[in-house]
């Protein structure tokens, strides 16, 4: 059986020809997979950086890495995870799925699509090339050490010698160009290429959330790119935008950065919301509760997200009025996010819940993102923020959102759509090991961070004060990080194993309702031989239940 499966692989051609196909491809599905594979590569790097940091923090005053190296590690970890792991893996999933979900043959601009991917990849390579090639004072191995947010004036020529900061600026800027290409392409595709009969109000929620995400990218990235160009002017052409030694303004960078940086959080989160909005209904055997309010919540998150950036800056000494404005705006975002939480929960009610691996990851998302959201409310309370911001409490909070929320959702997506892309289901047993180890490891890693923060541990420190109770919590965190690392090994083994030996999936293994399941697994290059008639939000439900179709209820 196994040997058969191997020899039966289609298109057994010379490796060079296969590589040529992948490098020159303009097919949205192949580009999607390229994004996902590349993000796995960067995940390995970012994960190893995190583990090294956790080892260094096992005990106070350890010297596993030097302070300089530690600073490079957290800079690279943050930058990698945000720009080169979560964004691309979600972009890859959107690339793969959105055209299928809306019944299109490809993206609106297939070559722009390929361009976006390669820009992202080369941006990442350029960033990591700094480890090998940065010229300047420190010689080889000078990765950037400025934090993922690159606050001025630490990045000005006076305080950041050599070229490491330039690698950071150029690497993120170039991958940002890729992101904007992706977003423009997505908007064009979703607006113009939907299947006949599919109104915007009938789109799968995942497509809706990608649409809003793309809107956010289009608004948030250009100012960021502009700010980065200004910083390059500072560094190489003697401009003084952020160069405080010459009268520049360090706060200007903070505003420009967070004007991008906060929407970025939702750029990462909305696709994850989209994923669970697809997974939870299918495994509850229920229609999503409150589709319209879900869409309204998504759109309003998109709008509010653009107006809350300065809540990252409650400690910089803005006036009370400004602080209160941004505090109120931040509170406001709890309302649409709450609506989503309640709708997902209500979808479970009265269902016939199948605890498959993707469903477990989505339920993990629900419970962990709930905690992340509630600690977010704490941080929106200005005086509490004075104590908690830039402490490990904050690190705990945003990892609950970014790892517990977003990454669990991404994992859910892997297990849910793997059969569509590969034609085989992922192994359930390995998947269960992966889920439980990751869930336990995650909680051991990030719950204690809240306590270390309350005990006064600031972020971005390579060591901490002995004898105030921080050792215990840091050691639990480190153990948790190692368990999380091991859980991801199960995931990688599962990806590999299931590719060759997984159970054959068939076209619609989960008995789902959206259009991507209406074609073969994996889909042919042209996606659909024949599209079902789209008259409602769940075209395959209508096919399967001709007696009680959805469009009667909408």
């Amino acid at each position: 059986m196994e040997a058969d499966a191997y020899t039966a692989l289609p298109n057994r051609r010379p490796a060079t020809a296969v590589a040529h196909d992948w490098v020159t491809t303009v097919d949205h599905k192949q580009i999607g997979i390229l994004y996902i594979v590349a993000s796995c590569f960067f995940l390995t790097l970012g994960g190893l950086e995190a583990l090294l940091m956790r080892l260094q923090l096992w005990m106070p005053d350890l010297e596993i890495v030097s302070p300089q190296t530690f600073n490079q590690l957290f800079t690279m970890h943050g930058t990698t995870m945000i720009f080169f792991v979560v964004m691309p893996v979600e972009a890859g999933m959107a690339n793969y799925l959105v055209p299928l979900m809306i019944g299109a043959r490809d993206m609106a601009f297939p070559r722009l699509n390929a361009f976006g991917f390669w820009m992202f990849l080369f941006g990442g390579f350029l960033l990591y090339f700094s480890y090998f090639g940065a010229m300047g004072l420190y010689g080889a191995g000078s990765a950037p050490d400025i934090g993922w947010y690159a606050y001025a004036p630490l990045t000005s020529p006076a305080f950041s010698r050599g070229n490491s900061t330039d690698y950071w600026l150029l690497g993120t800027m170039i991958s940002g160009v890729g992101s904007v290409s992706f977003a423009v392409n997505m908007i064009a595709t979703i607006i113009t290429m939907r299947a006949p009969g599919m109104r915007l109000s009938m789109m799968p929620l995942f497509a809706w959330m990608i649409l809003v995400t793309s809107g956010l990218i289009v608004f948030a990235f250009p100012p960021f790119t502009a700010a980065e160009i200004m910083m390059l002017f500072d560094r190489h052409l003697g401009a003084h935008f952020f160069d405080t030694q010459a009268g520049g303004d360090g706060l200007l960078w903070q505003h420009l950065f967070w004007f991008f940086g906060h929407p970025e959080v939702y750029i990462l989160a909305l696709p994850a919301f989209g994923i669970v909005s697809e997974v939870i209904p299918v495994f509850s055997r229920k229609v999503i509760f409150g589709y319209a309010s879900m869409v309204a919540a998504t759109v309003s998150i998109g709008f509010i997200a653009m107006g809350v950036w300065a809540h990252h800056m409650f400690t910089v000494g803005m006036s009370s009025t400004i602080d209160l404005f941004f505090s109120a705006a931040t509170f406001l975002i709890a309302v649409p996010t709450g609506i989503k939480m309640f709708n997902w929960t209500a979808t479970l009610y009265g269902g016939r819940i199948r605890l498959t691996v993707p469903m477990l990851f989505s339920l993990g998302f629900l419970s962990l993102f709930l905690i992340g959201g509630l600690t977010g409310i704490m941080l929106a309370i200005v005086p509490m923020d004075w104590q908690l911001s830039d402490s490990y409490f904050l690190i705990g909070h945003f990892h609950f959102v970014a790892f517990g929320g977003i990454f669990f959702a991404v994992m859910s997506a892997y297990y849910y759509w793997y059969p569509k892309a590969i034609g085989r289901k992922m192994n359930r047993k390995l998947g269960l090991w992966h889920f439980w180890l990751q869930f336990i490891g995650f909680n051991l890693t990030f719950i204690p961070m809240h306590f270390s923060g309350i005990l006064g541990m600031p972020r971005r420190v390579y060591t901490y004060k002995a004898g105030v109770g921080l050792e215990f919590w840091n050691q639990v965190t480190t153990v948790g990080a190692i368990i999380t690392g091991i859980s991801l090994l199960f995931f990688i083994v599962n990806l590999w194993y299931s590719y060759f030996y997984g159970e054959e999936a068939g076209d619609d293994p989960w008995n789902a309702w959206t259009l991507e399941w209406a074609t073969t697994s994996p889909p042919p290059a042209y996606n659909f031989e024949e599209l079902p008639v789209v008259k409602s939000r769940r075209p395959l439900w209508d096919l399967k239940h001709p007696d009680d179709p959805d469009w009667k209820h909408e």
Partner: protein
């Protein structure tokens, strides 16, 4: 424990008197006037805090109750007390929301879990497309909660951010440097480093500490968790913050905004003393440096070498400002901004090779012979 001066009698009675009346601040804001719901009484808060502290101690942080604690719940000032009160209130509200939503999820998953015997051919469960009354209800409920929370924030921000310092506040000008703190007392006329002495506030002499925060290079942030939240020090900008300590002791803090290689070891101590202890300390700090003829050699070496271009010793030609003022070096507990204890051996190591304690700091290796280092240290040790 050893760092902590013996607390004077009657501290408990001094803790609770008000300084800046919350009511004054509240009157300045119309939204604040809407705030009729009072926080639970202090006694309830105190016992709640005790429960929380005990819980955390049980969770493995027994040290939280030690004098060296840096926990934000182990409050020692009016300001941090106010913040931990809000913390407990918000913890109660968010905790309740968490319990409600999480149990809903858990109950639904358990209750509606498909039985193994069920096959794919089973009929689908009833489809519920939504319910406007319910959806509107859970839009409005969070709105109400955040509205209440926002009023709490408005009141608290107005309490914590008075525009004027009390007339008799101790004024301190804090300057953040890579990677140490300069503390200037403009009214008293001297500068010290890394260890901030402030008097305890008491009824007879209410004297909040009012700080003006500046930076000499990159952005830093002043954070002493037990005394107050953090405020950034940003170049070309003057920030202000204040706190009113209500317990004597040594409070640890550190830079909370990433500021380069040794951000981790930009530590500081705030020493809260009784007014008389503080007055004695001030008297001593005001004096110029001791000029002991017995260590004239060391003094000469210090002034001849580049030490003098970075450090100031009042009463000598050393007027450098790149490094900390050393006029009363021996009155401090640590060297290298908390990197090491201030004693004979550590001073010798520090001058020979500061990177032993603080890799990457800007203090250079002084390239002195071992003999000369000892001579310089013998001079420094007279700077009391």
């Amino acid at each position: 424990m050893k760092d902590r001066p013996v607390a004077q009698d009657g501290i408990q009675s001094q803790r609770s008197h008000g300084r800046i009346e919350p009511d004054d601040a509240r009157r300045t804001c119309a939204a604040g006037l809407l705030m009729t719901a009072k926080l639970p009484s202090r006694i309830v808060i105190r016992s709640l805090r005790r429960v929380l502290l005990t819980a955390m101690a049980l969770l493995g942080t027994a040290n939280v109750l030690l004098a060296e604690s840096t926990s934000i719940f182990d409050t020692a000032s009016y300001n941090s007390e106010k913040i931990s009160e809000i913390f407990l209130l918000v913890l109660a509200i968010t905790g309740l929301i968490f319990v409600l939503v999480f149990s809903a999820i858990a109950v639904f998953v358990v209750r509606f879990r498909a039985r193994r015997s069920e096959t794919e051919d089973e009929p689908e469960p009833p489809q519920i497309y939504g319910s406007w009354p319910i959806e509107i209800a859970w839009t409005i409920a969070p709105l109400l909660i955040i509205f209440v929370l926002f009023l709490v924030v408005v009141r608290s921000v107005n309490e914590q951010r008075p525009t004027q310092a009390p007339g008799d506040a101790v004024q301190v000008r804090v300057i953040g440097n890579q990677w140490w703190w300069s503390f200037e007392y403009p009214e008293l006329g001297f500068i010290t480093a890394n260890e901030l002495h402030v008097p305890l506030d008491d009824t007879e002499d209410p004297s909040s500490v009012f700080m003006q925060l500046e930076s000499a290079d990159v952005a830093h942030s002043f954070w002493v968790p037990r005394l107050a939240g953090k405020t950034d020090l940003i170049p070309n900008r003057i920030n202000t913050m204040w706190f009113t300590p209500n317990e004597t002791g040594v409070y640890y803090g550190q830079c909370a905004e990433y500021c380069g290689t040794q951000h981790s070891k930009m530590l500081l101590r705030v020493i809260v003393e009784t007014p008389s202890e503080f007055a004695a300390w001030v008297e001593n700090e005001k004096k110029p440096a001791v000029n002991d003829p017995a260590v004239a050699d060391g003094r000469a070496l210090f002034l001849e070498h580049s030490c003098a271009s970075c450090h100031t010793i009042r009463g000598t030609n050393a007027r450098g400002t790149f490094g900390p003022d050393l006029t009363h070096l021996m009155s401090r507990q640590t060297i290298g901004a908390g990197a090491a204890e201030n004693n004979h051996d550590n001073l010798i190591t520090w001058i020979t090779n500061p990177h032993v304690f603080k890799t990457g700091c800007y203090m250079p290796e002084m390239k002195l012979t071992a003999e000369n280092v000892k001579t310089v240290v013998s001079y420094l040790e007279t700077l009391r």
